[in-house]
């Protein structure tokens, strides 16, 4: 619909990102030299560790899968200038509902049951976020605050179900029973946990990209995101585009939770999804809210995580040191993403 390649947006500023990455890694190396007694060893595992065997590599990619979904969820909302800060609760409750559906269904019907579980997870997230959008449309409640508050409350409700009615007494974890084998997603890269949901996440990124840049809804969403007054003047139903992006954003978050259960965890463990929602915001920021940029951004995020784990396992760094190094890199990269976002806004012709 627009001949200016949407992909071009993605690569604009890639040099800036590369420079920031260089600086970030240099600082990380410096930190490791001061904090570790076997710095070369630590550096090796931190940066190369995730690529040294199939198990690490596959698990790194697996970690990125829910982040692709939550990153897409945030990108959709931010592109439309609505704010969904309830990702945590939406992922977690999506996971619970997905698990509950699997546990409730009769043992037969693997594909259909799995699909039902994912649909349930998706719907849960959509409803939770959609509520905030609806309140905004109806009463002008700030969706940024309400989505956060609803999510914070929902987390406790999910905790209750996991540790109460759905708790598996035969297991020492604070977790539900495991879902049946027939619902579990197929592993594609043994011995790692990577499963077919990797393909789902790529499909989701492609779909969201197509939706945002090639369809009527995407056009209206982006126009509302850039200039609501113009959109209203042009005849777009602007109040619908407060609710719709929230629903879409929530659905993607709920799906992240469902996919994590069916693919990786196979049971809802108390607070297992902590961070997936917030990290989605970071991923979207790095990707500059571009749906296709979300995929490499999520992998990058997962790479930092996997590197820290490998360094902890194979070298003398503690969890705290690994976290410090990880956050230095992460802060610099997000700062760069934020900086260019701010500059774009300030530099926009008035």
């Amino acid at each position: 619909m627009r001949r200016r390649k949407p992909l071009g947006e993605l690569f604009a500023g890639a040099t800036g990102l590369a420079l920031t990455l260089g600086i970030a890694f240099a600082i990380a190396v410096l930190l490791i030299f001061t904090l570790s007694r076997r710095p070369m060893n630590t550096i090796y595992y931190f940066f190369v560790g995730p690529f040294t065997n199939k198990y690490y590599f596959g698990n790194m990619l697996n970690t990125s899968i829910p982040l692709v979904f939550t990153g897409l969820g945030i990108a959709v909302a931010f592109k439309s200038s609505v704010f969904n800060l309830g990702g945590e609760g939406q992922v977690y409750s999506g996971a619970l509902v997905g698990t509950a559906i699997c546990l409730a269904l009769p043992a037969a019907g693997g594909y259909l049951g799995g699909a039902a579980a994912l649909a349930g997870a998706l719907a849960t997230g959509a409803v939770l976020a959609g509520l905030s959008g609806f309140f905004r449309m109806k009463w002008g409640t700030d969706e940024l605050i309400s989505s956060f508050l609803i999510s914070a409350a929902v987390i406790f409700i999910v905790n209750y179900f996991i540790t109460g009615p759905l708790d598996d007494p035969g297991n020492n974890l604070l977790a539900t029973r495991a879902i049946g084998e027939q619902y579990r997603l197929l592993g594609i890269f043994p011995p790692s946990k990577l499963d077919v949901s990797a393909v789902f996440s790529l499909l989701a990124a492609g779909l969201v990209f197509f939706l945002m840049y090639y369809t009527h809804w995407g056009y209206e969403m982006r126009m509302c995101g850039l200039n609501r007054e113009f959109s209203r003047y042009g005849g777009i139903n602007v109040s619908a585009y407060i609710v719709l992006p929230m629903i879409l954003s929530g659905a993607l978050h709920g799906l992240a939770g469902g996919v994590a259960i069916l693919g990786t965890y196979h049971m809802a463990v108390k607070e297992f999804s902590g961070g997936m929602g917030w990290n989605g915001i970071a991923v979207a920021l790095i990707a500059k809210n571009h749906p296709l940029g979300v995929v490499p951004a999520a992998v990058f995020f997962a790479y930092l995580d996997a590197g820290a784990k490998a360094a902890m396992l194979h070298s003398d760094v503690t969890f705290e040191i690994a976290a410090v190094v990880q956050s230095v890199i992460f802060y610099l990269v997000t700062a760069q993403a934020l900086y260019s976002a701010v500059r774009r806004r300030a530099g926009a012709p008035a």
Partner: protein, 510 residues
């Protein structure tokens, strides 16, 4: 020797090529109240911004008390004793009067802490010194507009200003508040202050000032002693002689009433007189109705109301006899609303989006197949508009990178492409160069010739007198004149209605 002497001030806005001040000489004596009058865009505000250090002149110099003043920022202006009250108040509603007054020059304790008691007592001292009665501890959000204005004045007095600039200070005030303000200004003059007051209202010029400077199109056209000039003459000086217009309006048979407003009232909280006061208006097929008025008299509100962006408080709006009063812009678009807004940078376009995306905003439903855009058709459409309106630039670039004239052409091309029988133009040529303006005028006349109804809202009298079949003049939210355009209608007459000097119009003349 005058107290303030601005010599040969010239300021060109390169963005749109407008020469806002063209070798302006302006002087004020010590201890006088000096009025500056002129139409919108005459250059009054630019001149005052230069004096206040908000803008730099391209040429010219400013002498204050005989010494050359170098004004780079409002801080320099404060240092030289120049203070300004802006048309829109710059107050923080949640703060008290004292906190607002000292903002930026707060009294401090031990260098870092805000001295709240000190602020209150300092501000109280200033209030008493000038004989005002207001409690500095009151929160600004609880004040009336008249009191807020007083706070703005106290703000500059607190900074020890000797020269006070007031930009249209009465536009938001009631009659009593205006009287009170004028009493304040007179007493300030009596104790030695010098005051410059920018205004559109000629009655106020007579009431308050000793001398008056009239500006038109970036130049000073007259400086008079107020006592020696009457309002008619000032009005004539302000609007100038009619310029001959390059276009001929061919006679077009007038058809049915396409757009009708019946007793439309628009109220707003906190305003004591309605923004629109029982406005009756009708636009027929093949007719251009020009609505003239000085800004702040209801033109912007009329624009919002007929385009469905603002709900009326009372009255009805009809399109082809059907009631469209409660429909918003989205539904009106389906009724064929075409509208070129005055605010073309925020309402009329999305600056970061491409020209193409801007072109399809109203018609994008026509390019869909199952919800997906048919690219080729969108591109063909964009190319057609680009060629038809000779728009410079690639349709794929963000519209914000185009010049003002080209942005307006994009908006115009888009609005004219819709299937419609009525179109609303608001300030269609504001800030545009002559060539772009003439292009737009010829298009407006073409639309009329095709038998469409045109509502033209503009504060540019030449434009309205040149294009409109029927002239409607608004003053303080009311229609004060409805005239058939013709040789009998002079610019002076319309100007007098616009400025509220004549109020002899009663109801429908037909």
């Amino acid at each position: 020797m005058p107290y303030l002497d601005m010599q040969g001030i010239t300021r060109l806005y390169p963005e749109n090529g407008v020469l806002a001040n063209d070798h302006v000489d302006f002087s004020v004596e010590r201890n006088e109240i000096h009025a500056v009058v002129g139409e919108n865009g005459a250059g009054k505000t630019t001149l005052m911004k230069i004096l206040y250090g908000l803008e730099r002149p391209d040429e010219g110099r400013i002498l204050l008390d005989g010494r050359e003043a170098d004004l780079h920022s409002p801080l320099d202006a404060h240092r030289l004793g120049i203070g300004m009250v802006h048309q829109h108040f710059r107050l923080i509603p949640e703060f008290t009067i004292a906190e607002n007054v000292v903002l930026g020059v707060e009294p401090r304790r031990r260098g870092v802490f805000f001295d709240r008691e000190g602020a209150v007592s300092d501000v109280r001292a200033v209030i008493e010194e000038y004989g005002f009665t207001i409690d500095p501890g009151l929160r600004v959000s609880r004040l009336t507009v008249g009191q807020m204005q007083l706070v703005e004045i106290i703000k500059i007095l607190y900074r020890r200003a000797d020269l006070l600039i007031l930009d249209e200070p009465t536009s938001v005030l009631t009659e009593q508040q205006i009287h009170k303000l004028f009493d304040t200004l007179r007493s300030l003059r009596d104790i030695g202050k010098t005051i410059i007051i920018i205004t559109h209202k000629l009655g106020e010029v007579k009431a308050i000032s000793q001398r008056v400077t009239v500006m038109r199109k970036g130049q000073v056209v007259a400086v008079r002693d107020t006592a020696a000039v009457d309002e008619r003459e000032l009005s004539r000086l302000m609007v100038g002689k009619s310029v001959s217009f390059a276009f001929e309006r061919e006679p077009v048979p007038r058809g049915r009433a396409v757009l009708e407003l019946q007793g439309v009232v628009l109220l707003q909280k906190g305003q004591d007189h309605p923004l629109l006061d029982h406005v009756d208006l009708s636009v027929h097929a093949g007719e251009i109705v020009g609505v003239a008025g000085v800004s702040g008299n209801g033109l912007a509100e009329l624009e919002d109301v007929v385009t469905g962006l603002r709900r009326v408080s009372e009255g009805r709006i009809l399109h082809d006899g059907r009631d469209i009063t409660r429909l918003d812009a989205r539904h009106l678009r389906r009724h064929g609303l075409a509208y070129v807004p005055a605010d073309r940078l925020h309402r009329g376009s999305s600056l970061q989006s491409s020209v193409m995306e801007n072109m399809i905003i109203a018609a994008h439903h026509d390019f869909l197949k199952g919800g997906v855009f048919r690219r080729q058709e969108v591109e063909d459409f964009a190319r057609r508009l680009k060629e038809g309106f000779s728009i410079d630039g690639d349709p794929r670039v963000p519209i914000g990178t185009l010049s003002g004239g080209n942005i307006q052409k994009v908006i115009l091309s888009r609005e004219l492409a819709s299937k419609t029988d009525f179109i609303i133009f608001s300030e269609p040529t504001w800030g545009l160069d002559v060539a772009s303006s003439e292009f737009i005028y010829s298009r407006i006349l073409e639309i009329r010739k095709e038998g469409n109804a045109v509502l033209l809202i503009s504060s540019n009298l030449d434009e309205i007198m040149g294009l409109a079949d029927t002239l409607v003049v608004m003053y303080r939210g009311r229609v004060v004149a409805r005239l058939e355009n013709g040789p009998g209608v002079s610019k002076e007459l319309v100007g007098e209605y616009m400025l509220g000097l004549r109020d002899d119009f009663e109801g429908e003349p037909r």
